[in-house]
Amino acid sequence: MTFEQAKDYLLQKARAMGLEAEVLATETREMSLSAFEGRLEEITQATQGGIGVRVVVEGKVGYAYTEEKTPEALDWVMQEAYENALLQGSGGGFIPAGSALGRHDLLGEGLSAPLEEKQAAALAVEATLRQDARVRQVPRTAYQEQEVQVVLGSTQGASGGYRTGVSVLMGSAILSDGGAPKQSWNVDVDREFHALEPGKTALELIERTARLLGARPLKTGKYRAYFEPKAFAQLLGVISFMFSAKNVLEGKSLLAGKVGEKVASDLVTVVDDPTLPGGIASRPFDAEGTPARRLVIIEKGVLKSFAHNSETARKMGVEPTGNAQRGYKGVLGVGHSNLFLEPGSGVRLEDGIVVTEMMGLHAGANPISGDFSLQALGLKLEGGEVAYAVENFTVAGNLLALLQNVSAVGEKLEWEYWGMALGAPMVEVAELSFAGA
């Protein structure tokens, strides 16, 4: 049975049971080529997929999914989803009225290249890394690609699908110039295999790691902070939790009730844009079939809108923003696509700390309280010049206070990929707490 057939089977079954239902299937083809010591050490090839339903019984919502596409498994899915729905106390759930959404291809020929070229790319990253005498080990370099087909259908008329995918080149290296070693990663993601440059991935990794060698402890104190683009993008990923209308409605967002209010510095404009041409997380419609559109979340410091799915939008009396999120295994949520901080007029380096990298975001940043305390690596600036690298310290504060204290924003956007695409330029924050020696 194909996913298309499984979708039709489930929708028919739902109609027969008198249920409203929405079916989402994804099918992924994946390949990964890892190089080690000049050979392809690990090759992975896969096809994998699953299908999940959201059913509504008198306003109550239930979920179930399967990766096995036999009639028995699909029957089990409908029965489980139905019984799960009956557990909900209050109603109010619904499947939104949908329309024909068409078939879209966002990937095109992006991954079309002979296997040999992809193998060569993985090997080239490793070879380039090993040319540098300071590189002591290259634990992992890999080329990976993923092609994803998404199919959506509902008893309320939604029907459509799209094909998307990415190619990824990554490396990890341990460098030492005789002293304590430093380890870093570099990951480059693109829709087009031919846009990836193995030499660039490797050299950037060396440069980013080498500048941290010979790092010294940092004296505890307050410093001006300069977040490099990818470091700030990670923070934006944590902050995005507060933009979700689902989290607002569940009493988990510090931004609840603040639409129209000033929540950040004038220099802060945050946009989520699923229509971005070439955007890694671009999509034609969201998980409920709401067409994609650009959403301004914060404009010049003022909170303009939360991100909504149809359910949160109805509860808050606004229009859905096309931010419904659901994988076949998951439940209806709110998510972002290409979320970014708009570039500004530039940052001038003075005295302070350049934060090049942060670690432990899942443990050290609490998006509900907004408190963060994160392990960081960086460079000590004196008179606008890098004086030395610093290590074994943390940077701490509150995420909302941080947004309010942004004192300059850089001109060039860089992207990180964390399930969603996160973009940021360099960001200067007037003063932050650093803990170290």
Partner: protein
């Protein structure tokens, strides 16, 4: 889950194609999850996951493929693709030509649940979570309580070209209570999440009334807490989830995944002193009903109790098949993977610091000013540099040897070998706690654990 003939055909074909070793991993999961918020079921979901992973090893090179189409045609086609992908035909011995004579081993049910997934109706689960929520509402400031229940049932088959045929069944249950307190201190959280390789009897081992109250009280403590101090100071780390420090600062550095590539700062150090003499560190895959226990690992080897560090001296790494091939060390039953979409690598199971002999109270004596990190969140490490961190969920200031006011929002950071040598005393109150560990072969259930212990100095990442 699959016929012996089909499994035999796949493995033989792989061997004929030149692989030294072939391994087929087949699994079926049934999962249920339930999330409640403010007395109402927000989401209830059920899932069926089903797939196979085929791994071929040529020397130390690995080819892996996975699919969830488990028909004979699909699996044989997959094997052909893999063999062609490698593009090389190697030596074929007699074993590879004929049918395989599987030596079958089945799980003995050492971690079998008393109350299986199919038992008790859904209302029973909702009622237990409601009990936890009620218990979490310890004060009017508790504005929101979220409870989540996860039930996993996994059937596994591992068959190899060496004739191994292992079937295992793993049942795990966990629930997490998160309380949100709101007041002048802003919005603060507290959470507890017990989990074991058991069924619904988890609610008897960890009563909702106790777990809920702990979450509520932690949120209230954090609400009245001031920001943590910043700087280097002595820290007493609490037991149970406190063990996450060793998971990050030592455990990951002892997996052959890093060690075999000399990508760990603890590579080539067997027999050497790597920690202070009061540290004995054990990774035990056999703990009855442990969150990270299983009878067999995901390469089909029986799990075992592995002493990693004894009185400060490195005794063993955690070794999977690939690690054994690269290092010549004996496999320790540590090959694990999230599911069929990952090839296995060496991973931790239930890892803990053995009890010491310092009375807990003695740890605090003599500390003029320091931090008591009572409960911890997750952490992260870079094996190549040993730099690690972990978040503190509940902490107090130690002043003149006494535990005083609560503080919040601190991460502790260090460099593995350095700070491990600064562990100067270990008490005897060992407890363990469940967590999820993310690494190369996916996200896995592991236990961490330790008694209370004292680190003479470490960076506390509060606010200056």
């Amino acid at each position: 889950m699959l016929s012996e003939t089909l499994v035999g055909d796949v493995l033989s074909r792989a061997r004929l194609g030149g692989a030294d070793y072939a391994e087929l991993y087949v699994e079926r999961w049934r999962r249920r999850s339930l999330r409640m918020l403010s007395g109402e079921v927000k989401e209830a979901a059920s899932g069926l996951e089903y797939g196979a992973g085929l791994r071929l090893i040529y020397g130390t090179e690995v080819v892996y493929a996975y699919t969830n189409d488990l028909s004979a045609e699909s699996l044989l086609e997959l094997t052909e693709t893999l063999v062609k992908l490698k593009g090389r035909v190697g030596q074929v011995d007699a074993q590879g030509r004929g049918g395989l004579d599987f030596r079958k081993q089945a799980a003995r049910g050492l971690h079998a649940p008393e109350v299986p997934l199919s038992a008790r109706d859904r209302r029973y689960r909702v009622e237990r979570l409601l009990e936890a929520e009620t218990a979490a509402r310890v004060a009017p400031e508790i504005k929101q309580v979220q409870t989540q229940l996860l039930e996993w049932e996994q059937e596994v088959l591992v068959a190899t070209s060496e004739g191994r045929w292992v079937e295992d069944r793993r049942v795990r249950t966990r629930y997490v209570v998160t309380a949100i307190a709101q007041g002048e201190g802003g919005m603060q959280t507290g959470s507890f999440g017990p989990g074991l390789s058991v069924g619904l009897e988890l609610f008897d081992h960890h009563p909702p009334s106790v777990v809920g109250r702990k979450a509520g009280e932690q949120a209230m403590t954090n609400l009245r807490a001031k920001p943590a101090p910043a700087g280097t100071m002595p820290v007493v780390i609490g037991n149970a989830f406190g063990g996450v420090i060793f998971h990050e600062a030592l455990g990951h550095l002892l997996e052959t995944t890093s060690v075999a590539k000399k990508a760990s700062v603890l590579s080539d150090k067997l027999g050497e002193k790597v920690a202070s003499p009061c540290v004995t560190y054990i990774d035990d895959g056999t703990t009855p009903h442990g969150w990270g226990s299983s009878e067999f690992d995901d390469e089909g080897l029986a799990t075992e109790r592995t002493v990693l560090i004894e009185n400060g001296v490195l005794k063993s790494y955690m070794v999977d098949r690939w690690g054994a091939l690269r290092t010549g060390l004996r496999p320790t039953g540590s090959g694990r993977r999230q599911d069929y979409t990952f090839a296995p690598t060496s991973r931790m199971r239930n890892t803990f610091i053995a009890p010491g002999d310092t009375p807990k109270e003695k740890l605090f004596e003599g500390i003029e000013y320091g931090l008591y990190a009572k409960d911890m969140g997750g952490g992260q490490v870079k094996p190549g540099s040993g730099e690690y961190n972990f978040g503190v969920k509940e902490a107090y200031i130690i002043r003149h040897g006494r535990i005083e006011e609560p503080v919040r929002g601190a991460m502790l950071v260090g460099k593995g070998p350095d700070s491990i040598s600064k562990i100067v005393a270990v008490s005897s109150d060992l407890e363990t706690a469940p967590g999820m560990c993310g690494s190369l072969s996916g996200s896995l259930p592991v236990e961490v654990g330790q008694p209370h212990l004292l680190i003479s100095e470490i960076v506390v990442g509060g606010q200056a």
